[in-house]
Symmetry: D2
């Protein structure tokens, strides 16, 4: 019997250098700024795997974030270079799920998180079925 | 039989006005900026209930956030005034847990979330027992 | 001979409380965050004197900032409440000029600055004459 | 007669990609975020020319910004990659002056600006003479 092997997750890496303005009173990256790093990771993923915010806009679709989770393990300091590992989690739901790991220069896990996005049109109506551009992308990537 | 009645949660309210710089390309508050609103709510709670970041600093203790959750329900737009409801969730664990609801001017739930904080000394060592200032605060507030 | 006395400047005051996330590694407000305070001051001015960003949008006009100057005198710390004094500087040029003073709780000048804005339509074309809504506002305020 | 030729300015280049979170309601980079780009440029300069914030900290010196000027010429949009040109302006004054040009991908000038920094010790006292580490740096760079 042949088993259909599907690649269910895609991954992308992006380095970020901690900005001075991202640190706080305690000398470490302010916890809210990790949300920017997640976005950096997601955008780098989009560029690498050809699914971008701009594509969405062209298709008159927005993909607002409906859930954010962030678990903090270790601090990051000014000047450190961290690696963001962004993984697309394949799901039959009409959603885009990304998971993130932020790794410091010693290879230690600093933070991990997840975002969930849905599809809405420019009038704010939720898409209950995957928009065609997204189906096409999943097909191309072997995710269907 | 007497039952010990303890007030287990404390609550605080704070209004925020959406800044222009907090909105994004889609004309709504960028999702990462809700983390600032949670912090505004937590600080307002601290001022109202006498447990502040500055107290912590005086006691040479920092309270880093180890977990952040945020569920987004509706967008907020530039100029809107939103109410942040911050609730301290009492726990025997050596942690501070806050839950947040952000309510728009029509009384609708825009976002809800949670943060978890731990206690560390200025060398970064985790406190495994509640620091005395925190025990004193809980006692005073009827939370022990 | 009667001399026409015109009130040439308008002023507005707004308090801001320094957010934790606005401070940096040095424990003071990161210098770039004063730009947000200027915006807070400008928006408060607009609400008080009835000239708002939303009016501009309704008139299909945007008022991008073309110049920003900021002179820093003293630091601001987490938790401090500062007063922003925003002054509209009347000018015959087709511009909006605001000057700002940020005063700490001891009444000392922390920072002063200026912004200059022009009028553009939604295609990005510069208005060479004052848009009617702005002329009407100036007339009403005795600034013509 | 021999004329002493001194190299009076040093320059550094750094690319930045516009983050989604840096854009505003108008779909362009919010004007206050250019201050971050200037800082990115200044830090890149420091890494290239061996004069860093961390050196300053090691020497127990801080270099707060006392003046910021920014002239805006053109907007930047989400996803654009801009080049920051940072020039150190040599001066006999006990100051560090940097000038910035931000250039878009079409080679057009988007923004230019300047920052001025002074030297203070960790008690907040202004240095009236250049600190030794700074003199050493200038000497090494042929700026004395």
């Amino acid at each position: 019997m042949r088993v259909k092997r599907i690649k269910t997750n895609l991954i992308s890496f992006k380095d970020v250098r901690v900005r001075f303005s991202e640190t706080d009173n305690l000398g470490i990256v302010w916890h809210g700024n990790y949300v920017k790093y997640f976005e950096d990771g997601r955008e780098a993923f989009g560029r690498e795997h050809n699914i971008s915010y701009l594509d969405q806009k062209k298709n008159r679709i927005a993909t607002p974030i409906i859930k954010l989770i962030c678990d903090y393990k270790l601090p990051l300091h000014f000047g450190e270079i961290a690696k963001i590992e962004t993984t697309y989690i394949n799901t039959p739901a009409v959603k885009m799920i990304f998971q993130y790991k932020i790794i410091n220069s010693e290879g230690k896990l600093v933070c991990q998180g997840e975002t969930v996005q849905v599809f809405v049109d420019f009038n704010g109506n939720l898409h209950l079925k995957p928009p065609p551009f997204f189906e096409a992308w999943k097909f191309k990537k072997g995710l269907l």
